[in-house]
Amino acid sequence: MADLTTNFLGITSPNPFWLASAPPTDKEYNVRRAFEAGWGGVVWKTLGSEGPPIVNVNGPRYGAIYGADRRLLGLNNIELITDRPLETNLEEMARVKADYPDRALIASIMVPCEEEAWKAILPRVAETNADGIELNFGCPHGMSERGMGAAVGQVPEYIEMVTRWCKKYYDRPVIVKLTPNITDVRYPARAAKNGGADAVSLINTISSITSVNLDNFSPEPSIDGKGSHGGYCGPAVKPIAMNMVAEIARDPETHGLPISGIGGVTTWRDAAEFMSLGAGNVQVCTAAMTYGFKIVQEMITGLSEWMDKKGYTSTSDFIGQAVPNVTDWQYLNLNYIAKAKIDQDACIKCGRCYIACEDTSHQAIWMKEGRVFEVNDAECVACNLCVDVCPIEGCITMERMPAGATDPRTGQTVQEEYANWTMHPNNPSSQAAE
């Protein structure tokens, strides 16, 4: 079993699986259970300023979308930051940290955009002996209307300013949690870095309406017939989150800035993918909320066994390994030519590849006598749709054509050398460059 000990910003944890700031980390009872189950760290549910706590709605806080067999694919929530007194949370955090010194404990904080507010809370948090803080600049609902959460995260100048205050009044690592509800995540990430952030974490939840009740036309989750946009998370958001992580990891201005990856991490594989895209660790919420804390055991053993197979002895061996392979479309090799191939032994003859290709793509699959499905290389553009709709993993594959072969679709010889759009004769700019 490979050692999963992870060092993130100097904070070590026995594994890279942290629970994100969310309902599962709202109080001592839950966090102790999480640590007993094996989680490497937690980001405590977001703390607000001293004084009367916020209140939550007293009806449904969550909405969901499902895949087959009611498998939860996406969850949204309209819950706010902790609704318990600051003092209670701080006392609990101190007790838990004292009892679990080997686990990471991070305090998530969201207070008004005023220096005094941050100056007041940070020393209190420091007294708990928490390993660091995470600035919640992400929540899209409830707090943003009060000038906090995503309202700050959407303005890079505010991010930079608040991060600067935090670095001024707090001497442990400062992680800035970013909202995805912006057009280009690199700007807030750069702002965080400029403000002195030790790391960014992303993504927070995405503004969303999960469904509409078709009897009373209320968005769900419905509170007395009305709904409000909630924060969307879970497996469905993973592709969005991974792209944002990669964008920050490969941006020359933020390259090397530590990232805590968040968004739909459900299995060890998801975690490995995020980490290969530059995340130093991952934060999990929906998977735990769906299946309970025990789910971390699969993540731990799965990641460890994969590392053993690959010969990795530390998570740092593979963190960021995929970053150099994330590029812009214009640099993709246009001389890479593949064709779909259907394994007739594995094929169960459902015909989904055929109809997908026939109706919506390139008419490159034949349906022959006896429901035999074959690829017509003369039409196949290797779009991968057939692979994606096939219910049998590995039944359809994309096979690269060797250099020197003739592509029956274009009649042209497959070239050995790399060539991309910037060099392509159809690209007006490429000619201008000559």
């Binding site: 067999d69 009611r70 169960i348 003859k349 459902c350 015909g351 989904r352 055929y354 349906m367 429901r371």
Partner: protein, 444 residues
């Protein structure tokens, strides 16, 4: 109080509770959650093999998707538009040799989508609401006679009524339904479903049923053809094949179809006598239905004796497994040669057989099985004296059930072609109705 070991043919071998349990639904109906889980397994195949395998061409992927998206009533309409007896077919179809055998998940995992049970979920949901989702087109003024109120006749009548024709169904027995009512194992059609389905079907309107009337029993074909614009014959197979064995007249030797029919029409199963040692001769669904129900009534030993090997048995593998699970013994390659006993049968003597290039032949070796009750289930035959062209013992038809007589169509078990299944009968009735419609409207 009798028990399974009481000798002779007696009633009340099992308690009321045991009988109620034994004759409850073979497959309990799916609840909405089960239906949703099962429906999610469907891949929505292109040109789906299950549809090809269905004699009535129900759009199975579509109706399952309708269930999955919370529209069981819409699913039922999809089913019923192709097969008006979709409710019964969901119960009695040998799905394991039709749609479910063709399901790609059978190929992928050996576990098909449970299409039959999903179909029942959809049709039961709609019928429980008392909804009849079809309406009649404008009246054509044409009148059609349907002879026989079995699945084929009912399907034909419904489609004709939908197309605006008026239909009179003549039925020999006292009740409509045919084999659905009289010939299906009770545990496949509980709670008087066959009769309820007929009532529901008749809600289309334009159909009247006259019972106690059949060809040669107050009716003849020439009168019908002169009185009606068209005639559809769905008279089933009224006769039963005879055994060559000696002593078949002994008390206790009867036809399986009569036993099944009697059982279906019995209000109180405790009053129905059954032997201690029951032997069923045959290898089809009727043999299995008779044998299993004998066992369920409390017979101690029930044996199916089939003259050929297992691979030739007409009853599906599922049916054979069902029989053996219920405690029925199935013996192969045995043909009856004599029934022994003084007045009442006490033993059946069988000769072993072998399938040879020259056909099935007895080996000369014999054996005996104790029997106080014997059910013959060796096939049924067409009974008619009408001047119709007969081929291989059935009414010869061309196209969608056209017989050798003008204006006369035929379908179901009495007509040549297709398997003798409820679903096939429905398809033939429906298709004949469309052909009759086209003909009557001068379009064919």
């Amino acid at each position: 109080m009798n028990s399974p070991t009481t000798s002779g043919i007696v009633a009340g071998r099992l308690s009321e509770q045991q009988l109620a349990d034994n004759f409850s639904d073979l497959h309990a109906p799916l609840d909405p959650h089960e239906a949703s889980v099962a429906a999610d397994r469907c891949y929505f195949c292109h040109d789906a093999p299950c549809v090809t395998a269905c004699p009535t061409d129900i759009d199975i992927p579509l109706f399952i998707r309708q269930i999955a998206t919370g529209q069981p009533e819409g699913a039922a309409k999809t089913i019923l538009s192709q097969n008006i007896l979709g409710g019964m077919c969901a119960r009695v179809c040998p799905t394991e040799t039709l749609c479910e055998q063709a399901c790609v998940r059978e190929e992928a995992e050996g576990k098909p989508v449970i299409i039959g049970q999903l179909q029942r979920f959809a049709t039961d949901t709609l019928m429980a609401q008392g909804i009849h989702p079809f309406a009649r087109e404008d009246s054509t003024g044409k009148r059609v006679a349907v002879v026989g109120a079995g699945p084929s006749g009912l399907a034909c009548a419904h489609r004709l009524a939908m197309r605006g024709h008026d239909v009179v169904i003549y039925e020999a027995s006292t009740k409509a339904g045919g084999l659905n009512e009289f010939g299906i194992a009770a545990y496949k059609s509980t709670d008087d479903f066959a009769a309820k389905e007929v009532d529901w079907l008749l809600k289309i309107g334009g159909i009247t049923i006259e019972t106690g009337k059949a060809l040669g029993q107050g009716l003849n074909l020439s009168d019908l053809t002169s009185e009606f614009d068209a005639v559809f014959l769905s008279i089933g197979l009224g006769g039963v094949n005879d055994l060559a064995a000696s002593g078949a007249e002994k008390i206790g030797v009867t036809d399986a179809v009569d036993f099944i029919s009697l059982l279906r029409q019995t209000d109180d199963l405790k009053t129905l006598p059954i032997g201690r040692n029951v032997v069923v001769i045959g290898g089809g669904m009727t043999a299995v239905d008779a044998a299993v129900q004998s066992k369920l009534l409390g017979a101690e030993n029930v044996t199916i004796a089939y003259r050929r090997g297992r691979d030739r048995m007409a009853a599906s593998e599922f049916e054979q497994d069902l029989a053996t699970t219920k405690g029925v013994r199935i013996l192969y390659n045995l043909q009856p040669v004599a029934f022994h006993g003084n007045g009442s049968v006490v033993e059946v003597e069988f000769e072993y057989t072998a399938d040879t290039p020259n056909g099935l032949q007895g080996t000369g070796e014999t054996m005996r099985i104790p029997a106080d009750q014997v059910f013959k289930a060796i096939g049924q035959t067409l009974e008619t004296s009408e001047q119709l062209k007969i081929e291989r013992g059935k009414i010869a038809v061309t196209g969608a059930g056209r017989t050798s007589v003008d204006d006369v169509w035929a379908g179901g078990d009495c007509a040549l072609g297709g398997e003798d299944l409820t679903v096939t009968a429905v398809a033939e009735g429906r298709d004949a109705a469309e052909d009759i419609h086209q003909t009557l409207m001068g379009k064919a």
